[in-house]
């Protein structure tokens, strides 16, 4: 199978309000895929339905050919949600080890120590999460997300709130995992990041796909030189 993600005729309603209608797209194995759109366009809802946090009203959302089951060790998915948090009262090492155990790592503690050494937090292993700075907590969240060499990495606005150092670290990690063959779905509002990293993108507006494919093809289709210009053309009217 070429695709790691398949979304077919996805429809999502909350009460009487339809937030996604008839959405279909695929993410190929090993590619970096941009899921783009303005606030409220349905990006996060799509990801939550893909990960089984929402039950779709209609349609099928598959990861590696099946509905996502968090305990299926054959498909490890790393997810960095937009809503971020950690067990504030627990220590760094206990939190990371716990997630590592849940993700089926053979030696979660050793993995966590290696990661913490890499990101310069080895001296904080026994600190409670709440004692760490915001930037340090972001590093922990990122570590939990990439545990176990995921086949699919889903990053919902990953650079939101990241300081420049952490943003650089994130980019390095994305690059490393991409080199290893991990497929990445990236939600972001920074079009420069998208142009630099993504192979293909989908642009959502009001729960519908307005553009989908390779960035170069979309630029041709819209007759624009940059994604920023396309973004402004599609969503510009929303702020008027």
């Amino acid at each position: 199978m070429k695709n790691i993600v398949e979304v077919k005729n996805f429809k999502m309603k909350f009460g009487n309000k339809t937030v996604i209608s008839n959405l279909s797209f695929e993410v190929k194995k090993g590619e970096i895929f941009g899921l783009l759109g303005s606030n409220g366009s349905g990006k996060t809802t799509t990801l939550r339905a893909l990960l089984g946090l929402y039950t779709p009203t209609e349609g099928e959302l598959l990861i590696d050919g099946k509905k996502y089951n968090p305990e299926d060790s054959s498909v490890i998915v790393g997810y960095l949600p937009e809503e971020r948090g950690l067990y504030r009262k627990e220590t760094v090492i206990d939190t990371m080890t716990y997630f590592g155990e849940l993700k089926g790592l053979k030696d979660p503690k050793e993995w966590s120590l290696k990661y913490l050494k890499r990101v310069g937090l080895l001296d904080k292993i026994n600190e409670k999460i709440e004692k760490l700075s915001g930037g340090q907590q972001q590093k922990i969240q990122l570590g939990i997300t990439i545990m176990g060499n995921p086949k699919l990495l889903i990053l919902d606005e990953p650079t939101k709130g990241f300081d420049p150092m952490n943003r650089k670290l994130l980019m390095e990690i994305i690059d490393e995992l991409h080199q290893k063959g991990t497929a990445i779905i990236l939600i972001t509002h920074y079009m420069d990041e998208v142009e630099k990293l993504c192979d293909r993108v989908i642009l959502l507006k009001d729960g519908k796909a307005r553009a989908y494919g390779k960035i170069s093809d979309i630029k041709k289709e819209f007759g624009k030189k940059s994604l920023d210009q396309i973004f402004v053309e599609i969503y510009g009217g929303e702020n008027e």
């Binding site: 939550r48 990960l51 089984g52 946090l53 996502y68 089951n69 968090p70 305990e71 998915v77 997810y79 949600p81 809503e83 971020r84 948090g85 950690l86 067990y87 504030r88 009262k89 627990e90 206990d94 716990y98 997630f99 155990e101 849940l102 993700k103 969240q141 939990i144 997300t145």
Partner: protein, 398 residues
């Protein structure tokens, strides 16, 4: 049992055991019991002689206007009036002074004077006169009449069942009631902890990360297992000191009577333990269901109160459970799901619950526990990423 649920349980148990606050809360009860025991041991009534006798260093005087004391007691009787006796106390000539007035038989009152030694709540020196008067009376009547009048004899209670066998109601009640006490403790101590465990992921905005790593079902089951283990730790921490105290006081008449009467019926004990486990699951499921509806422990606290009241409701009607024939209220409480656990335990303890009724009640509690836990899992999954404050529809502003 799912491996993932066990991993969740391990994490939840270890993190609690590492917290000083957990041990502070857990040790509070045994320490309190120990403190009360220490106080009662040091200052309590068991060290206070409620019927003291006159020792050789204590000087006592009595004015007997009623003329009831015989010549044997003349050593204590003084000539003079009440004022004279009081003066003797004030001057330190005597330590204790009693005035038996003329109308003693009608009014049954004696005045007692002595120098106060502060609060003096455990001073029973006044009872010395009772001993003297009893001794005085005993000298005038037959010893058999003394026993009869003082009531100083034991009535050995031999109850029979309708079929003529020896009835041992107290012995049969001990273990079911002990299980009820443990369940009550569980309700009192663990409601808040269940709520915290359920809403913690939401409060910390970690629901999405955790629920894409572990299923909500296994997360909830893991948390329930953890709470059970922590409950067991808490119960053991509480029960062991109590058992030690019972052992140390095994010669105490009341305790030795209870201990000697305990009836060990393995079937009854097993049934009550199964009922306890089902009841704990029902309570846990209810707490988790409430926790899964809301976003914060604060929101949950307003809904958990009525559930706890419904659970302990049978205790408010305790006297109705003593009746040999249960009434309508007792039957209602026995079969209303939330009150059923305590009602069944009470009736089992008081011997008014037949085997068939017990099994029906047990089945009801078990089925309700399964339903409420499934409901809690479904609600938790549905509301896990809902961070809004929960309000029932009828309370929402139009």
């Amino acid at each position: 049992m799912s491996n993932v649920a066990l991993k969740v349980a391990k994490f939840e148990v270890l993190r609690q055991l590492k917290k000083p606050a957990f041990w502070a809360a857990i040790l509070l009860m045994p320490l309190l019991i120990g403190f009360i025991y220490f106080i009662s041991f040091t200052f309590g009534t068991e060290n206070v002689d409620m019927n003291p006798t006159l020792d050789e260093n204590t000087k006592m005087a009595i004015t007997d206007d009623a003329g009831i004391l015989g010549p044997e007691m003349s050593q204590y009787v003084i000539n003079g009036d009440k004022e004279y006796g009081v003066e003797m106390v004030k001057n330190g000539e005597v330590d204790l002074y009693f005035h038996i007035p003329k109308d003693f038989v009608e009014n049954k009152k004696v005045d007692f004077y002595h120098i106060s030694e502060g609060l003096d709540i455990f001073n029973f020196d006044g009872n010395i006169l009772k001993g003297i008067l009893a001794q005085n009376a005993a000298m005038k009547v037959d010893p058999a009449d003394v026993v009869a009048l003082t009531g100083n004899f034991e009535i050995v209670d031999n109850k029979l069942t309708a079929s003529g066998e020896n009835e041992n109601a107290l012995g049969k009640a001990v273990i079911p009631i002990a299980i009820l006490v443990v369940f009550f403790m569980f309700i009192a101590l663990f409601g808040n902890r269940f709520l915290m465990a359920t809403v913690e992921e939401k409060e910390n905005r970690i629901s999405e990360m955790i629920l894409t790593t572990v299923s909500s079902k296994h997360l909830i089951i893991g948390k329930i297992i953890a709470m059970m283990v922590l409950g067991l730790v808490q119960i053991v921490t509480f029960v062991v000191p109590v058992l030690i105290l019972v052992f140390l006081n095994r010669e105490n008449p009341m305790i030795s009577t209870i201990l000697s009467s305990i009836e060990i019926d393995p079937v009854t004990i097993a049934m009550n333990i199964i009922l306890f486990i089902a009841s704990v699951f029902l309570y846990a499921g209810t707490c988790i269901f409430i926790g899964s509806l809301v976003s914060t422990a604060r929101d949950a606290s307003s809904f958990i109160g009525p559930a706890i009241i419904a659970m302990v409701f049978p205790l408010y009607f305790m006297q109705l459970f003593f009746a040999p024939e249960p009434g309508a209220i007792v039957y209602f409480l026995t079969y209303f799901p939330l009150s059923a656990p305590i009602a069944l335990m009470l009736r089992s303890g008081f011997g008014t619950l037949g085997t068939v009724e017990f099994l029906i009640g047990l089945a009801e509690v078990s089925v309700c526990a399964i339903i409420v836990i499934r409901l809690a899992v479904a609600t938790f999954q549905k509301n896990a990423i809902n961070f809004e404050t929960f309000r029932p529809k009828f309370l929402k502003r139009r």
